[in-house]
């Protein structure tokens, strides 16, 4: 499968970075889904992962650190014909932008959220991220991280997300398959993507993940919320990959009184007669 259509230019990532595999999986997923690149909008905040929209030939919105989700959901509200993908890091999504993470799960706008979760801050050269393990030593957390790691999968399920998955950059075929299903899901879809940071995270490296990750069994029923929460809490010697929880639920567009009529907001014409009528009400 050629991915030329989405090629842009040289990246600013370190050799061996998990971002490369995530980027190429994303390109493959978009190619296989046959989505025209002018109908794709990649949104990110700031960070190493957040540079992804720069390296793929689509529409790109590189906004502020932590604020990718509000911009992305609003762009989707404005034009539902765009395939809107937030592709950014764990600091952007779960740290600076955590409030938006929680509330956009509740909003359930039909966007896809890929989080490059390397359990470290890369662009700022190696501080603890919300998902860093307890005891994880950095130049700032000199005695080891004393905070409880954030569990994005568990929190997303608890907050009401309808599509919650985990993938691993070291398993690109599985990752591509999950990405495609996430993009096709009608609603907010979260894919937390485990990804080694070769420069700053010497603990959660390829060997660490390879020993722990496993794909969910074929007979795993991802529609069971309580079971899914149990799997979500499995993060140690074994780490499950796959769609951990899935539920069909009405999306924002299907519930909003303006959008549910089916016409993209961007195409709703200006009706001067309506405006006149409204003004008359103040007589």
């Amino acid at each position: 499968m050629s991915t030329d259509k989405y090629v842009t230019y040289e990246t600013a990532w370190c050799p061996g970075c998990g971002n490369f595999s995530i980027l190429s999986s994303l390109k493959t997923a978009l190619e296989e889904l046959k989505i025209e690149n002018n109908k794709v909008l990649m949104v990110a905040g700031i960070g190493q992962a957040a540079k992804t929209p720069q390296y793929i030939n689509t529409n790109a919105f590189c906004g502020l650190h932590g604020r990718a989700l509000p911009a992305a959901v609003a762009a989707k509200i404005a034009n539902e014909e765009l395939t809107v993908i937030v592709d950014t890091g764990d600091g952007d999504s779960y740290g600076e932008g955590c409030n938006h993470f929680l509330h956009n799960i509740r909003r359930n706008v039909n966007i896809t959220h890929f989080v490059h979760d390397n359990q470290i801050y890369g662009l700022t050269k190696g501080q603890a991220s919300p998902t860093s393990e307890e005891g994880f030593v950095t130049g700032i957390q000199v005695d080891g991280n004393i905070n409880t790691p954030f569990n994005p999968i568990l929190i997303a399920i608890a907050a009401g997300a309808g599509f919650v998955a985990r993938a691993y950059s070291g398993n690109p075929e599985h990752l591509t398959s999950i990405m495609k299903q996430a993009i096709n899901y009608d609603g907010y879809a979260l894919v937390d993507i485990l990804q080694p940071c070769v420069s700053f995270n010497k603990v959660n490296n390829y060997a660490y993940y390879s020993q722990r990750v496993y794909e969910l069994e074929d007979d795993y029923d991802c529609n069971q919320k309580v079971l899914a929460m149990e799997r979500a809490m499995e993060f140690g010697d074994k780490i499950p990959l796959g769609i951990i929880y899935k539920e069909d639920k009405p999306s924002y567009h299907s519930k909003n009184s303006v959008l549910k009529k089916g016409k993209p907001l961007v195409d709703i014409p200006y009706d001067k007669e309506t405006v006149k009528k409204i003004v008359e009400e103040f007589k």
Partner: protein, 553 residues
């Protein structure tokens, strides 16, 4: 001109009385200005509205009262010193008050008879309308409009009984009596946005801006505007930017505290050149300040908010008419120059109602799309002569639209090139040069042969206008005023021309430090000789200004 005050505790029905009076008096042909003085609580405390009406135009509120409608005793004690000698106090007969101007009516008793204590406000409105020789039929029609079936019967009985309890006392003032519109400041902003084809409004509730969101939500389906309550103001502005990038006209509204949270993204709109309109309905700060009161203390903040340098425009709203037209213009300016435009309003304007002439939808500015050459490569940030680059909507053409909060090249890709940085900064700032050509000069009030020049901005215009008219009609010394609507960039032409003739310049502002005077001094070197500053959360009246000016000589 008549001026009434309706006072009582929160939850007692002041709003009902004021609304019935406002609507009925407007229907009978008066020009009206109402103002609200409300505490930040849902029950109790002391709240009041004033309603000033005349056959001539009314510009502002006043503290010289012709009547007090007292829904409790406190309203009398707090306001009777503002009442004219031949004014009246309307209250329940149980209220202990030996003031000879008092008209006691059995409001409590009748409301008990009717079976709902909440109709007291309607009874009082009926009595007031009778005092001012209004028509009961008009009042009944308004009541019919205002209440649903459940409450209509009771309120109808209340308005009739109230009306019949007192005799007519004040003659009806003769005027043109043309049908006009009556709007609050926040309603006028909402209408301006609707007229400018707003498609997305997002905000976090914050007094005194919330009623913009409430009004737009009530019209959401009819107009085709999505109204989204954000999780915080940071989300609100980032959503507005995201929606605008994707091609719909977007606005967010807040007060100073919320604006403080928005400032990083204000810079994003500047850097990425995405048009948005932000309304800051000011209230006294800092921090939580006075949530339900008024001030003009965000001026210097909004003109310089956010780190780095980028073009923006700030328009302060001077009155209700302005609130409509300037909001529509804000959308136009934002889109034409691809910049954030901040509308500065305040609680006084937001919550006050005024009659305005019919809104003209024909004269609103239209935006023409930026042309793109057939064969040339699409560059979102193309270097152009006026700095305005071709803005395409993602998905609308085959071209890809990339924006970046990082410094970027013409394509919208991240760069650290020194030369590109300088060229991009110049390109962005250059847009202001063209924008300056279409700034609106401040409104000049008063006589051309003046001694003293008054300077103000925004909602104090009404009081300043009355001041100039009053002073010029009584004394030898002549006055004029310049009231700024566009405040950033600052229009200077008329200012530089008028200050030449001024013996004294006085700035009148609703803040503690004289922010407008600071801005004018910084940008023109002109200094004001005297400042009239009010920052107690209550809007200045013309009488207060006149008193201060007369004291200064």
């Amino acid at each position: 001109m008549y001026n009434l005050l309706i006072g009582g505790a929160a939850g007692q029905g002041i709003d009902t009385t004021t609304t019935i009076l406002r609507k009925t008096l407007k229907k009978s042909g008066y020009n009206i200005f109402t103002a609200e003085d409300v505490m930040s609580r849902v029950r109790g405390g002391h709240n009041y509205s004033t309603i000033r009406f005349d056959s001539e135009e009314v510009f502002s509120h006043s503290k010289k009262l012709d009547g007090i409608v007292a829904l409790n005793e406190e309203a009398i004690n707090l306001h009777k010193n503002e009442l004219n000698e031949d004014g009246f106090i309307l209250c329940d007969k149980s209220v202990e008050n030996d003031d000879l101007r008092t008209i006691k009516i059995a409001m409590d008793e009748i409301s008990t008879e009717i079976g709902n204590p909440k109709v007291i406000g309607t009874i009082a409105a009926g009595s007031v309308l009778s005092l001012f020789s209004e028509s009961l039929d008009d009042a009944k029609e308004i009541v019919k409009e205002m209440f649903d079936e459940r409450l209509l019967g009771m309120n109808m009985e209340a308005i009739i009984k109230g009306f019949q309890m007192v005799e007519s006392r004040y003659p009806k003032l003769k005027g043109k009596g043309e049908p006009k519109l009556i709007v609050s400041g926040n309603e006028a902003i909402s209408l301006g946005a609707i007229a400018a084809k707003i498609r997305f409004y997002t905000a976090y509730p914050m007094s005194p801006s919330t009623s913009i969101m409430g009004y737009l939500a009530s019209k959401s389906e009819q107009v085709g505007v999505v109204v989204e309550q954000a999780e915080d103001e940071i989300a609100a502005i980032n959503m507005a930017i995201g929606a605008s990038y994707a091609g719909v006209r977007s606005m967010t509204g807040t007060s100073g505290g919320g604006f403080s949270l928005m400032v990083e993204a204000l810079g994003l709109a500047g850097m990425a050149e995405i048009p948005i309109v932000i309304v800051d309905v000011q209230r006294p700060g800092p921090a939580t300040g006075f949530p339900t009161r008024t001030e003009q203390s965000d001026l210097k903040f909004v003109i310089s908010a956010s780190h780095g340098e980028f073009p923006r425009m700030v328009i302060s709203l001077c009155d209700h008419n302005d609130a409509f037209y300037q909001t529509a213009r804000a959308f136009y300016m934002a889109e034409k120059y691809q910049i954030p435009v901040v509308i500065l309003s305040d609680q006084y304007l937001a919550d006050s109602h005024a009659t305005i002439d019919t809104i003209d939808l024909e004269g609103l500015p239209e935006i023409s799309k930026s042309p793109i050459g057939e064969d040339e490569e699409y560059l979102r940030y193309r270097f152009t002569e006026d700095g305005i680059s071709p803005r395409l909507i993602p998905g609308e053409t085959d071209n890809l639209v990339a924006i970046d909060s990082d410094e970027h090249n013409e394509r919208g890709w991240i760069t650290e090139d020194a030369g590109v940085r300088v060229k991009m900064t110049k390109k962005r700032m250059k847009k202001l040069e063209k924008l300056k050509e279409e700034l609106i000069e401040p409104e000049f009030l008063g006589t051309n042969l003046f001694d003293t020049l008054l300077l103000g901005f925004g909602s104090t215009k009404g009081a300043i206008k009355e001041t100039v008219e009053n002073l010029n009609s009584i004394g030898e010394k002549k006055y004029a005023a310049l009231v700024f609507g566009d405040v950033y960039p600052l229009p200077k032409k008329l200012l530089l021309e008028k200050v030449k003739n001024a013996k004294l310049i006085i700035n009148i502002e609703q803040n503690a430090t004289g922010q407008l005077a600071d801005v004018i001094r910084e940008q023109t070197g002109i200094t004001c000789g005297y400042s009239i500053l009010k920052y107690d959360g209550r809007q200045i009246t013309s009488d207060e200004i006149v008193e201060k000016i007369e004291k200064e000589g």
